[in-house]
Point group: C2
Chain length 84, copies 2
């Protein structure tokens, strides 16, 4: 069993209204030093070890379902040797 | 200017219907080796360097606004020396 952490972020060129709303709320709470907020997704997958390379499969899952690659970037980390 | 990465995850004991839906969709796409999916939030903050310890401020922001500490855990990383 491997744990895969996927981070999905909006591309730099894409507006992030949710992030702007959070930045506004932080300013209202008095945290004026916050300049910018970008909100993304963090997905933890537990994947059974298979014969093929897991990287290929994770990338396919991201491309097909997890990320919208038109407006989002993704990166992932694989934690090896996580036992059940 | 420092970049702070905040990871917000549901506590282990809390059900994650969104994650279950994604797991079901991955199974339907043929990725049967995916055992579990948990979905969280990933927030990037750009914070101006201040005199006080930034950790205290980030924790206060998480407690007050970014995370719902009843059902969510948070952790953060601070990237030092990010210049404008």
């Amino acid at each position: 069993m491997k744990k895969v952490k996927v981070y999905i972020t909006l591309k730099e060129s894409v507006l992030d209204p949710q992030g702007q709303a959070v930045a506004g709320a932080l300013h209202n709470l008095g945290y004026k030093e916050v300049q910018d907020v970008r909100i993304g997704k963090y997905i933890e997958l537990e994947v059974e070890a298979s014969d093929g390379p897991i990287e290929t499969q994770i990338e396919a899952m991201c491309e097909k379902l997890l990320a919208n690659t038109v407006i989002e970037n993704y990166r992932y980390e694989i934690e090896e040797g996580v036992t059940q």
